[in-house]
Structures are given as C-alpha cells and as structure tokens.
Subunit: 459 residues, 2 copies
C-alpha cells in the first residue's frame, strides 16, 4: 500500500480513550463555570479579517489562518499587482475571512454586536478550539482548545476574587496542585512611573515577563537595550524582589508608590482582592508576585496566572482585567475581567501525573456474544432491556469466532460479557462473565439488570 | 457610532438561550449513541486538500473552504501562471489545507491512518461542525454541526437495524414525530438492470432523488434528457409506484428482479432488515420506499432517511451502507454503515413545534442581592454553601440600585432572589423571593439549602 493519508502538521485526531479524558477536563471546567452562574456562548470558527487583524500585534497577524475567497478569487488582480505587492497585502485581496485566533476578540465582537440583548454584567463562558499558524513543536499545536470565562460590564473586585475561586475549584476537582500568582498592571505602571520610565511600561512589562525563564541578568540586559537608564534599572531591582507576606509587600509599596496615582490605585485594588481571599482562606494558595507581567497589551488591572506545582509546563490558566476591550469595536468604557484555561496543557499535566480517575463508568458495560441466528433473538431482547435501564451495551453484530469476539471485549475494556447459547436459552438463563476476574456465573435472565447495577461500583 | 462589527455571511453566534437548547439536542443524541456502545472521536477542522478534493464531486470541490498557505504564499508563482491558470488550479498552488466538508471523509481517513490501533467492528460517533461555501439561505448555513454515527468493519444487517433503532430512540426522546424511510441501492441497481439501463444507474438515482420535490413528470423528463429510452422509462413507472406493505412489495420485486443478481441480493438484505424491525415492533414506524435514492455516490446497500412528520423541512437524519469508503485512502474491502443527524434542522423543527422541555434546571438558580460592603460578607458565606451543595448561584457584584439588580434576575430567568440586609443579618435570617409568584418568605439561613432542593421540581 502507498503511504497512507495524513494530517496537516500541528493538528491531531482524538481517539476514544483520549476523548474520555479530554471530556473529563471539559466537563469539570464547564460544571464549575455553571455553578458560578456563567452562561455559555459559541461563535463561528470564521471571523471577518477586519475583526481579527491588528488585534494581536504584528506577530499575531502573521499567525492568522486566512481563508481563500470562494469562486474566481484572483480575478481583477493583475500580474503587476502580484509582482509589486507583499504577501500581507496580497492575501487581503484574495481573502476576507480568517480562523479565530483566540476567544477574547470574538467575545468582544459578540458583546458589541449583541449589546442590546445582553443583561450586564454579562457572565459568559466559551469552550472552543482556536487556530494559530505557529511553528508546531512538542506541546504546541495549530489547533487547540481554550476555555474562557469572563464577566463584562462590572468593576467590582468581587469578580477577580470569584475568578481566583473558580481556578481553585477547577484544579481541586481535577486534583492538579497549583500555585496561583496575582499582580496588577496599575502597580507595574506605578513602578515604571516612580523609576522615571513611565513611557517604557510596554518594554518593562515584556522584559519582566521573561524573568522566570531568562533570569534577572538577561532581563536587566534587555531593559538596558530598550534604553532604560542604569539608575532606573537599579531602582527597579529591590522592588521586583520585595519579600514577605502580601501585607508586608503592600506596606512597602505604599511608600515606594506614594507619588504615583496609578500605583496607589493598583495597591488599593490588590488590598481589596486579598481581603476577599483572606476571608475565604484562599490567600494561602495565592501569591502576590510583582514579577508577574503577562504579555498581552490589553490588561489594565489585576493579572492572574496558575501553574502546576508538580510539573514544569508554564501557565495552565491565566487572565486579567481589561478596561477597554470592546473599544476596538466602537463600544467604549466597558470593563471586563476574565481567565482562560489551557485544556491541552492541563491534559498533559494530568496524563503525566496520572491524575485521571478510573474510567469504568464510561463506555460500553456489557457485550453479548453472537452465537448465530438461532440465539440472536434471545440476546437482542435482553439487550433492549439493558438499554431501557440505561446500561450501555452491545451485541457483537456477526457470529465470528468466539476468540475474536472476546478479544474485542478485551480491547475495548468492556467489563462484562454475556454468553447465551442453546443451553442457557433452553433454561431461561445466561452466563455472565466478569472480564477482570475471569469468573463466570450462570444466572436467571431476570436477575441481570439488578446484578449489573449492584456491581457497577465494585468493578 | 459607526456600523458595528459583523459576521461572515452564513455563520452565526449562539447566545446562552440557544446554547441551552442546542446542548439539549447534542446531549440527547450523544447519550443514545453511548447507550448503543458507540465511542467518540474528534478530528481537526483542517484537513489536507489531498484528503478532501475529489471526494464530493465537482460541486463539492468548489464548495470547500481553502486555507491560504502561511508566509510568502505567492512566491514562485509568475504572472504568466496567474494569467493562464484557472482559479481551481491556482488555488492549489497557494493553499494546501481546507476546512472539513463533512465528517465521513475525515472518518475514512482516520480509520485508515489508525487501523492498527482500532478493534473492529469500530463503532464511532462524532459531533463536530463542518463548513461549506454554499450560497447562504434560510435554514442553510456555511458552518453547521453534523452528528455522525457509523460502524465499520462488519457486514451484518444487524447494524442497519440498530441504526434505525437509534433514530427511533433519539427522536422519541426529543419528542419529534418522524417518518423513517428505507431502501437499498442494490435494488435500484437491479431495477436499472431489468429496464435495460444498467449503465445509467447514476442518472436514475439522481433523478429519482428529486421525485418528492419535482414530481414524476419532471423526473421522467430528466430521465429522457439523460438518454433513457421511452421503453425503459415506461417500465420504470409501475416499479416506482408499487403499493402495499413491505412484504407485498418484496413479493412483487422478487418477480421483477429475478434476472438481476444485484437486485435479488438487495431484496434479501431488505427482508432481513425488516425481519429485525418486525421483531422489534419498529416496522410500523418504518416505510420501505423504492423512490428513496439519496444523492451520495458512495452508498452501496441500505439507505435510510428520517423526516419530521409535523413540519416540512426535508431530511433531518439520513445515511446508508457503503462498501468501500476507505478504499479512497488505500484500505480496500472494509464495509461500513452510518447515519448523520442534522442538528440545525432538528433545532428548527423543535423550535417551531415548541418541543423543548422547560429550562428551569439550567442556569443560575439563585441571585444574592448586593446591599453594600457591610452586608457582603454574610451573603458570600451563604453563597459558598450553596455552591458546595451544587446549586448554581450568583452574588450581584456591585451595590447597584435594587431595581437594576432585580431586572438582572428577571432578564436572566433566575428563579430565586435572596435579600439579606441589616435586619436579616442581625436575626441570622434571610428573605427568599420567588421570582415567579413574587412571594417573599423570611427564613433561617440554615433552612436555605433544603428549601431550595425541595422547590427544585415545583418551579
């Protein structure tokens, strides 16, 4: 046979075993979102390029998957244009749609488009795939799921507190031990201000964001390259490495930031947030970390990030407050805050640490062996009864060799096999085989459902 | 404000209310698939164009959404090529991936690619969106969901029977009254053979497929245009309009088709299938309909279609047996049979006929009003208790006007509102307001969870 068909690089199939595990993650996240009163929405895979372009920086624009216009897409484009136009401009002549790059920009578009039908504060969640033409590598895919939860149209720090609580709740249900770190963009702005580099806040944020991976020396080198004065870099050092409890840090920052209005506002926000967390005993699992920056431009207040304690894989959940996301679509002054769970990384963590629960409740519980036409009717009527009782069950569709049928049950991990041959039928009985222990029991056919229900837990 | 952002034509957003209804359909279909022992898989939105092209006919190729190659996609394409190349060929130079058009071809690719890991018969289901660059019109979208269930690697008619049973089970759970029609491609082949037009089976299938909408005269005209002899068309008429029960038709066909091996094979298959259905009392809801053709080329045996009885909208579920689907990817001789539920049309039917169940169990059950900082802590501790008990609940995040907070509860359809002001707090009580009746009751805070659980059903 010739080389078989394949998949585009960076994309994956999910088989039944992976689906069960992935669904466990999605269902857990979804049930917590619902418990906290968030409502689901879905947006289309394709958005107009005018919605997507310019929202993710130059790099993001390049990583968008663009969809070729239908029909005679190249008509009207002369050879001169092709020769004299760069790929970016040329693509916009033959493509007007792209695949969504994240769920945040489509959400902002959604809010603006449907603002008259929405009751604010709008608490929404959205679990859908996104696509990025990134260079595929281990753990980085071109199609992956995001699980976003946002509340838009309310300024209260209660929302930030509740999102931290959702993170804590999700990961404790998934048995993933995590470290939640919190910071505030206004504090970073204030620090930039007091070290005399207010205008370079973007560069400072980007550099600090790399502290974890690159170390302080590389960060300082980058800051110098970006043009920060030696004095500014020096005065930044003690601030980044403030020690002590959150309260200790707040007291020290109160002095450091006293001349910055933005800084003092950020400090007050963090104090309110930590008071919520203290009252909830959540503060112990949260860390106030001045070096947390998170790259995205649009954050304006609290920023939040969670990492797995028992595996190094980077952030598995993160987000923050953005004061003007819908402004890009003409709706000004609507503040929101949200976080996004990275399902693919969470999957990798749970897989590596073997945190998935047993799967005995998933999939087919019972397989009826097929002994041929004469026996078939007897099995089918029992099969129908099991299904009416809500028990997932199958009849092997063809009378293949019994060895083959048993191998199927084994490969599929089906816990019970039912043997109903001529002898059993004559006696109104059946043989129930426990595939784990190998035990076979002859039972009356009326006993079947009760027996299976009793044994549901113990298997 | 300028005209706000929009969506690509033929695509849609789904808001919270639609999501709840759509999920009801998906969850019902999914739970029936599982009950019958089918396992979930998912494939990526993007496939290589080499996987997709040529599988759906010329029309299908045109309707594929193609994805522009990343980077400098036009490099190496000279102006001469652009001027001298049609859009089809040109697009294949700048695009090597496309969005999936259905779930069947990706499934065939999946089976071939993963055949060494699969236990056959492979019973899989797949619920994902597909994309087609069709002209958007009422009820026809460019992004829509398919819900496919197939079993591959087994020839037994038991599989066809079970799929009919799944259709019956799904629609009875959804309360959608349906008409299930069955036919067999081998019978149509046999008929073409006995009227002396064996080679024109494709044209005959396509023409008959339109009988419902276009009427017999137009069908006959089309057949004549395609070159069928008058004699052949005349001898076709009585066959298409055979009357009586399935058994009556079988007896008549036995004579008509006696010289066609294919026809007799098809007849035998239909008899076996109807025997299964008879034993199950499903035959009464199924009709043997010789005029059912279903357009797709790859069917080779049974064909199945379901329509809503109470609304004209075309097929809401359909499928059939295909003997060589994986052959296109180099794996020969693997027979399969499957059906696909059209979730968007089912949604339209259920919406129009008002078949969705009450939604009281969905979404937030309880809203705590926000009276300001002093009262907040009391409410948050009650809120945490409710969530621990699994009751979806919210605290209004800001102390806005009470009228505004009540309007939010109303718009969201939240059934219970909790009022805990200074008086209630002092007495360790709270006021529970039933939003439907307007009744307010002062209760002890410890009674809250039990009261809500008791009232869960009655609301």
């Amino acid at each position: 046979m010739a080389k078989g068909p394949g998949l585009p690089k960076g994309t994956r199939d999910f088989g039944p075993a992976e689906m069960i595990r992935r669904n466990f993650i999605f269902n857990t996240i979804r049930s917590v979102f619902r418990l906290y009163g968030y409502q689901p929405i879905e947006t289309p895979a394709m958005e107009n390029l005018s919605t997507l372009l310019g929202k993710y920086g130059e790099e993001g624009d390049r990583l968008l998957f663009k969809i070729l216009n239908s029909g005679d897409f190249a008509s009207g484009i002369s050879p001169e244009i092709i020769l004299n136009t760069g790929p970016g401009e040329l693509s916009s002549m033959i493509s007007e749609k792209g695949l969504r790059y994240d769920l945040t920009v489509p959400f902002a578009r959604y809010v603006v488009q449907h603002r008259n039908d929405i009751s604010f504060p709008f608490k929404r969640y959205q679990i859908q795939p996104v696509w990025r033409a990134d260079k595929p590598q281990k753990g980085r895919y071109r199609e992956f799921y995001q699980c976003d939860v946002d509340v838009i149209g309310d300024n209260s720090l209660f929302n930030e507190y509740e999102l931290v609580k959702i993170i804590d709740d999700v990961f404790s249900r998934l048995s993933v031990r995590t470290d939640i770190r919190l910071n505030n963009r206004k504090l970073l702005n204030g620090i930039a201000e007091v070290i005399g580099e207010k205008a370079r806040i973007g560069d400072i944020t980007v550099a600090i964001d790399k502290l974890d991976k690159a170390g302080i020396e590389n960060v300082n080198r980058e800051l110098a390259q970006k043009g920060l004065s030696g004095a500014a870099i020096s005065s930044l050092q003690p601030i980044l490495f403030l020690e002590g409890s959150a309260d200790d840090k707040f007291s020290k920052l109160e002095k450091i930031l006293e001349r910055s209005e933005d800084g003092m506002k950020g400090l007050s926000e963090m104090r309110i947030l930590f008071e919520y967390l203290d009252n909830d005993t959540l503060a112990s699992s949260c860390k106030f970390d001045l070096t947390l920056a998170r790259g995205l431009d649009y954050y304006t207040g609290a920023i939040i990030e969670a990492r797995a304690l028992d595996m190094e894989i980077g952030s598995i959940c993160g987000g923050g407050r953005y004061d003007d996301l819908t402004g890009i679509f003409g709706l000004e002054g609507v503040s929101g805050v949200g976080i996004s769970f990275g399902a693919d990384r969470i999957y990798d963590v749970m897989n590596r640490l073997d945190l998935f629960p047993g799967e005995s409740e998933q999939g087919t519980r019972v397989l009826f062996l097929n002994f041929g036409e004469a026996e078939e009717k007897y099995s089918i009527s029992l099969l129908n009864n099991l299904r009416k009782a809500g028990i997932s069950s199958e009849f092997f569709p063809s009378p293949r060799k019994i060895k083959k049928q048993m191998a199927y049950a084994n490969n599929r991990g089906i816990p019970w096999v039912i043997i109903a041959g001529a002898d059993e039928i004559k006696a109104g009985k059946l043989t129930l085989k426990n595939m784990k222990s190998g035990d076979q029991t002859l039972i009356n056919k009326d006993e079947l459902i009760d027996l299976l229900k009793e044994n549901n837990q113990t298997l």
